[in-house]
Amino acid sequence: MEKKVDIVIKFAGLKLANPVFLASGTCGYADEMADFTDLNSLGGFITKSITLKPRKGNPNPRIIETDSGMLNAIGLANIGLERFIKEKLPILKKMRPAIFVNVAGEIIKDYTEVIGTLSTEKAIAGFELNISCPNVKMGSICFGTEPAVVEEVTAAAKKASGKKILMVKLTPSVTDVSTIARAAIDGGADALSLINTFTAMVIDIETARPALANRTGGLSGPAIKPIAVYLVNKVFREVAQKANIPILGLGGIRTASDAIEFILAGATAVAVGTANFSDPNCAEKITGGIREYCVRKKIRNLKELVGSVK
């Protein structure tokens, strides 16, 4: 008889049924996905970014497909904190997976107000700090690329989040992502999620104009996966392992083997993003595939795999 494989994981002190999350901005506020997948089969769920006030977002065109990927420049369009609490939180409350709320802002106070307000909500396991959206101009400050700023915003967010877990989402559009990871950890991050999209551009050669109204957008999908795996491994080896800070790995995952690569690279959990658009049920398949891999490789606890690349 097959030995029971345990893919239950501990992530920043949370016990999760499995390591598979849905990534922010690719699964709405959960209700939109319910027609296509069993949300309770997930390990975790990360909401679309929430800002203090509603945001209209960028003009059309906001997306364009590329070879094995896509660019988006949505511009953090969202319903704002007030409507989120009224309309979406009641739905999230009924879900079994760990719920993380992705929080974005233009100044530090924007982050701390949203996080502070939600920090006592039982339904929420933690926050994902979005300091890495490539499509929004944040005045003169670029939160995600300056180590000192990353540390400051993380520390303020950590203070506001009370007992909730604070995960910081990193941008790959920096010279050395480990420096930024270290700054986030120094600021008090309980977990890191990497990687966000890569700033990129597509040009329509017929009109000689950028394909997106925002000129540039964030590249996601299978096209970025090997770079994302590399960056997860780099941050794991250089920073996260020593600091004992778990990584949520993401970037182009659409199969179980993609997810396992991230885990071998150093991710404790993984998130499915762009793949949700074409297969809103793919997280469930990925979870099944991870289990099968563990059986085949005689791995009794998924923890053994994390960062075990030779």
Partner: protein
């Protein structure tokens, strides 16, 4: 209480996929069981997201020259297609889609053969609705926008015989109609055809004929409704005519979509908020694709 399923991720079987002229094709797919029941409810204006990512490309030498260069691009997103018809036959539901080859995904679609399995998500979005008290429906179809209008024409003739239907169908030229406008329905309806170059029907634009018809017939605006789908410039003009004459008007829009079920937020449509100067972005996939002409900012 069990939630009623009104959309889902399903498989369909191809019943036929034929070239109807130039770059135009007609594909029919059949659904059985629960998916058939769900799709039987599909309304004109709704659409399905079809996965063509693993469908084979046609041989290189059969690909139109202008599409050949980028034909090999890997595709990862589904493509949205509105329905040209949906019919229930026993416990099966048959959906018909008209499409033209414009890029690597629609090129792949041409190689689907009878018996092949296709993965689709749908029915998605909100279709055209028929408000109470309407006596005349003017249907405006431009080029590749005609399939949902064709579906609507059929439905109106079958289910709302009290409504007089007049169809305005236009294209750039004779060869640019995805299906023959005279055959939009099996029933006879008044049809006015236009082409930009005059190679078929009247020379000029659909919108010119629409305006002329309204001027000549002077219908009571409360009893009149306009439905339209086609190129954005045509739709903007239709909206202008309808709004200035205070005629109810529903317009089906097209946008690039990644998901089709409002999680990607990619298919933004700028809409007015009441009579204020303020605008918001609605989602073409979930708030539309059919919008009230008065709310769209063209």
């Amino acid at each position: 209480m069990k939630k009623k399923i009104n959309k889902g991720l399903f498989s369909a079987k191809v019943r036929g996929n034929i070239n109807t002229g130039r770059c135009f094709y007609r594909i029919e797919m059949e659904l059985a069981g629960v998916p058939a029941k769900v799709f039987a409810q599909a309304q004109p204006g709704q659409f399905a997201q079809i996965d063509l990512s693993t469908t084979a490309l046609p041989p290189q030498d059969s690909i139109a020259h202008k599409l050949r260069d980028s034909s090999g691009r890997n595709i990862i997103l589904r493509r949205p297609f509105s329905f040209a018809n949906v019919q229930s036959k026993g416990d099966k539901t048959i959906i018909q889609i008209l499409y033209c080859t414009v890029g690597p995904a629609s090129l792949r679609m041409t190689t689907l053969k009878t018996g092949d399995t296709v993965n689709l998500i749908g029915p998605l979005g909100n279709g055209f609705v028929i408000p109470e008290g309407k006596k005349i429906a003017l249907l405006a179809a431009g080029g590749m926008g005609s399939p949902p209008v064709q579906f609507l024409a059929n439905r109106l003739v079958k289910k709302n015989p009290e409504i007089k239907v007049v169809l305005f169908a236009g294209a750039k030229s004779k060869n640019e109609f995805p299906s023959e406008p005279e055959k939009f329905t099996s029933h006879k309806i008044e049809t006015i055809i236009t082409t930009n170059d005059g190679s078929f029907g009247l020379k000029g634009l659909v919108t010119e004929q629409l305006e002329k018809w309204i001027e000549a017939n002077e219908p009571k605006e409360q009893q009149l409704i306009i439905y339209a789908c086609g190129p954005e410039a045509m739709l903007a003009r239709v909206a202008e005519i309808a709004n200035s004459e205070r005629i109810d008007c529903q317009i089906s829009l097209e946008r690039r979509m990644a998901c089709g079920f409002s999680v990607c937020q990619g298919c933004a449509v700028e809409c007015k908020v009441g009579s204020s100067e303020e605008t918001i972005y609605k989602m073409c996939c979930a708030d539309g694709p059919v919008f009230d002409s008065r709310e769209i900012v063209f």
